[in-house]
């Protein structure tokens, strides 16, 4: 089994290389001169040229790419043009914040999504199913920034119970986590429902009934153990996207997270942050996906024995 994962880890490298190339190309195609951005429109020609040389912007692109790769391997993601801080330290500062949101949001979405999907599947085609499916779909359809604003309206403005921005206390987490949770809850609920519907039909569930097993055991031991496996993938996928995907939530609630860092950097052509940030995210996504596969292999004995 270790062999399999070593191989997957290995395969991650070309993907990361591809990402790095793509990011490099995109960033350097972007219009806008970073030197100009940094120094402002009043800079003189000499100042601009000097800064460009300093930043290495005058070297041929291929060389720049090579330097970029070399630096990444050394762990040096460059310095932000905007703040002057090393990209890595900015990321290190903000990642825990975003991760906290992501983890709580995911927990919330699992807590609500799985029961919702289960109910919908068990009472398929009744009003319970329709209601649960509708809720799930609604959560999915509402634009998250709108949901965020509405929640803010209700709980920060009309009933000023919760703060609407910033970070610090657990109270600050509540609204953003709810927003994230509702969005993801929908996907999890739908996946749970369809997975369960498929499993309930299976012969071995009929066997379990024929053995006279009580419904509780059939649901939790027989059905869940099979049905939740694909749901893990979905949860993992969502989580993998979380570093960059929580952009909107972070923006609306003014949370200094990694998503916002990246968006601001793209806007300002702060290319070291963009390059370094995206590489960081891609690595994170790759590792999360790998972990999901790992969990899959542990949880599903059929796969486990494939790689023994």
């Amino acid at each position: 089994m270790l062999r399999y994962f070593r191989k997957r880890l290995f395969l991650l490298i070309p993907v990361l290389l591809g990402v790095s190339l793509l990011v490099f190309v995109i960033v350097h195609l972007a219009p806008g001169d970073p030197a100009l951005t940094l120094l402002g429109p009043n800079a003189t020609q000499e100042e601009l040229v000097e800064l460009r040389t300093q930043l290495g912007l005058d070297k041929p692109l291929v060389l720049q790419y090579g330097l970029f790769l070399k630096n990444i391997l050394k762990g040096n993601l460059g310095k932000s043009l905007l703040s002057g801080e090393p990209v890595l330290s900015e990321l290190k500062q903000r990642t825990p914040i975003t991760l906290r949101l992501a983890i709580w949001g995911t927990l919330f979405s699992i807590l609500i999504g799985i029961p919702l999907g289960t109910l919908a599947a068990l009472y398929q085609n009744t009003w319970i199913d329709n209601l649960c499916s509708f809720f799930a779909l609604a959560g999915f359809s509402f634009p998250n920034f709108w949901l965020a604003l509405m929640l803010m309206l209700m709980f920060s403005i009309y009933f000023p119970v919760l703060p609407s921005s910033g970070m610090g206390t657990w109270k600050h987490l509540i609204l953003p986590v709810i927003v994230i949770g509702i969005q993801n809850m929908a996907i999890i609920a739908r996946m749970t429902r369809s997975s369960m519907l498929e499993i309930i039909r299976q012969d071995y569930i009929r066997t379990a009934h024929a053995k006279g097993m009580p419904s509780r055991i059939i649901l939790f031991r027989h059905i869940f153990s099979n049905a939740l496996i694909p749901v893990i993938t979905v949860i993992g996928l969502n989580f993998g996207n979380s570093l960059g995907g929580l952009v909107i939530t972070e923006t609306v609630f003014s949370i200094p997270g990694t998503g916002r860092l990246l968006v601001d950097a793209i806007r300002a052509n702060d290319y070291p942050v963009v390059q370094g940030g995206v590489m960081f995210f891609a690595l994170f996504v790759g590792l999360v996906n790998l972990s999901v596969d790992f969990i899959y292999a542990i949880v599903d004995p059929r796969i486990k024995s494939m790689y023994r």
Binding site: P14, F142, M150
Partner: protein, 290 residues
């Protein structure tokens, strides 16, 4: 020959009828269909329906609450919100369909080639899709827009590209399923060109999942564009796009929340309708999945 053609056509017709019958049974899907049709009508008849010019600013009537003149109130520049929402439907539909068109066609072509020819081509294409998928969708779209600029066209390209991997995956697996079957080899023996085989045999099989994905895709595209406009990276004001309206409304949340409530409601309704429709189509086209 004629007889056979007739039989085939009859079979197709009854298949369609069967699908329609299944669809009809699903009430939420019908609601979704109704919403989507409503959207189309509103977009089409926008100039007739909107009480005012969406871009005309009546400065003296800034930030008015809903009243009999301004049914949904006015925004911070004194423009009638209702009219802006009505015209906004055009942009949303336009962007949604074109973005999905770009993503769908591009993704389908890639998926078919990957599935049909397999081997190295498949590997290359799917690795590229993996690379695209390694970016969170919103970051990818923002990055592309960052490079190309925030025009409408670039926005659609950006969203389209971020949708491609999904189509590629779906089409590829459908292609695999069909390619293995013997009639493909048989067709080749008779001398059919690959292109012909693809169009006549493989694509029809992918049609169902593509349709479903496209409907859902339009919903996602509308959300994506609204999100980007909200961040200021999409449609720029003064164009009446729902996301941009929400962005502007954000500042006035405390005093005049209706600026934010109504455009968001519009987005939510439209996306919900499309999602309901897409789900209904999926259930109707493949009842097994239900």
């Amino acid at each position: 020959m004629e007889q056979e053609k007739l039989i085939v056509r009859d079979k197709k017709q009854s298949q369609l009828q069967e699908i329609w019958r299944r669809f009809r049974r699903n009430k939420t899907a019908l609601v979704g269909l109704a919403i989507v049709i409503f959207l189309f009508l509103v977009a089409f008849f926008a100039p007739l329906l909107a009480p005012m010019d969406p871009n005309k600013a009546f400065f003296k009537d800034k930030l008015q609450l809903p009243s009999s003149t301004y049914l949904l109130g006015t925004d911070n520049m004194g423009r009638d919100i209702l009219s802006r929402i009505i015209f906004g439907s055009r942009i949303s539909l336009y962007i949604g369909f074109i973005a999905v068109g770009i993503g769908g066609i591009g993704g389908t072509i890639l998926g078919v080639f990957a599935g049909f020819y397999g081997g190295k081509l498949d590997n290359v294409i799917m690795r590229t899709m993996d690379i695209l998928l390694a970016f969170p969708a919103i970051i990818l779209a923002i990055a592309i827009v960052g490079v190309l600029g925030t025009s409408l066209g670039n926005l659609m390209i950006a969203v389209g590209i971020s949708h491609m991997p999904r189509y590629a995956r779906i089409v590829r697996s459908s292609t695999f399923a069909v390619r293995g079957q013997e009639f493909v080899d048989a067709a080749r023996l008779v001398g059919a060109h690959d292109f012909q085989i693809i169009i006549e045999n493989i694509l029809p099989n992918c049609l169902a999942p593509i349709i479903v994905q496209s409907t859902l895709g339009v919903a996602q595209a509308i959300l994506a564009v609204a999100s980007m406009s909200f961040l200021g990276l999409g449609i720029q004001p003064p164009t009446a796009e729902w996301g941009a309206m929400l962005s502007a409304g954000r500042q006035y949340l405390r005093i005049t929340p209706h600026l934010a409530i109504f455009p968001g409601l519009a987005i939510a309704t439209v996306v919900l309708g499309l999602n309901l429709l897409g789900d209904g189509l999926r259930d109707a086209l493949d009842p097994k999945l239900r």
